[in-house]
Subunit: 290 residues, 2 copies
């Protein structure tokens, strides 16, 4: 029996005890990937719930001196809060504490970190491609990251050793780690994740804006799956849309052009063009799903 390599963190601090932060805590403990887990969340009821569920060894709404002993701090708060969080934790960080995050947009934190030169060589960004439409520490669960992708976004100044330790940590959690730069990440995820979420919310609005009342009761399994992501946290996704709007806007505008084409095909009953459009989309999806 081979044992997977251990990244060698004694104390890990998780800032933000929601679905991702809480699930991370559960698995770090389950897999013995840290001796001690420090939890932070500005919402007292999140701290209480996290302690109640034994997700972490301590939970606090304030960044205290305990943070000094953490080998690794992982930010799991909404991406727009990162500047404020970094400002607050900086005085409490130990000299060798590594810093990472689990945010869905990578460039803004990279830009914020430039204001903290001493943190730059200790920072590597991260994004687990896992989650769900439920949120908060009550929805934390084990095995959330198992078999899922994890994107690691080192800066030009991140030493290879730092990237590798965090990579080993996520691989120990069962994730398949890919490394790319932050801008590349944000461009890809604007397309494959952020735009689909925006469209799912917009589609529900388009449906309930129809003339018939209570039309949703007539829908089938198709709409249920299609719109599942529209039950995700509005706060979190508004945050992601805004943080990544530079890459979202071109994608949204491209979609609007495509819908303009479809409008034209429908208006003119252009069966050939319509069918070609659907065939191309089906082909691309079937290739992807395999």
């Amino acid at each position: 029996m081979t044992e997977s390599p251990n990244p060698g963190f004694q104390q890990i601090a998780i800032v933000g005890l929601g679905l991702i932060g809480g699930s991370l805590a559960l698995d770090l403990r389950r897999l013995h990937l840290a001796e001690h887990l420090l939890g932070y969340d500005q919402r007292p009821h999140h701290c209480e719930e996290a302690l109640h569920r034994n997700l972490v060894d301590s939970a606090s709404t304030n960044f205290d001196k305990k943070l000094r002993d953490a080998d690794l701090v992982i930010l799991a708060t909404p991406v727009s809060s990162f500047p404020q969080v970094l400002h607050s934790i900086r005085p409490q960080l130990g000299l060798h504490t590594l810093l990472s995050d689990v945010g869905s947009v990578k460039s803004p934190l990279l830009s914020t970190i430039q204001d903290y030169p001493e943190l730059i060589p200790r920072f590597v960004g991260g994004h687990p491609i896992a989650g769900g439409e439920r949120f908060g520490p009550t929805s934390a669960r084990t095995h959330l990251f198992e078999g899922k992708r994890f994107i690691l976004t080192p800066t030009d100044a991140t030493p290879l050793e730092v990237t590798q330790r965090v990579q080993i940590l996520w691989e120990a959690l069962g994730s398949k780690v890919a490394v790319m730069n932050a801008a590349q990440h944000d461009q890809i995820f604007a397309a494959v994740s952020h735009l689909p979420h925006l469209i799912a919310y917009a589609s529900i609005q388009a449906i309930i804006g129809s003339d018939q009342e209570e039309v949703l009761q007539f829908s089938g399994a198709g709409l249920k799956d299609f719109s599942r992501i529209a039950s995700s946290s509005p706060e979190m996704w508004t945050d992601i849309f805004l943080e990544n709007r530079e890459h979202m806007l071109p994608r949204l505008r491209h979609l609007k052009e495509l819908l303009g084409q479809l409008d034209d095909y429908l208006e003119n009953a252009n069966r050939e063009k319509l069918q070609q459009f659907m065939q191309q989309a089906k082909f691309a999806r079937d290739q992807w799903i395999g």
Copy 2:
């Protein structure tokens, strides 16, 4: 043990042996809802497959004299083929044969049936809210309609007795039957089904049209569920979009307006409006899913 009422059909003919027609045949036989099942499909390999899987007792590419003995004929071909199919089967129909269908758009057949006055009092439209992205007789399966909605769309001239017999048939198949008129049906389903399918196809096109190659490999479960319906039959859905374009176009244009609003909110980083938009959508979906 109470037995569910039997609609009393001896011979049922199914025209079109795809996913819906084939699954219907399987369950009619399983539940002893017909003594004899006649299958028709213009594609010889569908007929062969249907016989091979014992979906029907006979299968033919031509409407033959056997049709005369059918108590009920159910059209399960693409909706755009209905005028041609009606034209072909008319000479072979018995004097008392009832006629129904399983098409996703109801008004066009209603309009076609006006050309066949003798059929009007024997016709009631139907639409099972069931299906899947796979198609053809090989994907036929039992229990497809169990627990699903079924919409019955009688005409003003459909005798109550005809509507009731077809309703009893679908209830025996396990469906929850609702009755409404064809126009109302088409308006509702433009919103809750046809528009989401169009958007799913368009979203895949928007994603693969991004600058990065092979971006789909980085997507998570969210996109997979969101885009599942984009793997549905392009031919069938092009048909549905065109047959229901009268109701599709206003919905598509409303969606374009909503995306225009979102573009504006993103461009101006209007967090409040963005969040309100997502909250309303999430609320509506959560209310629906319960």
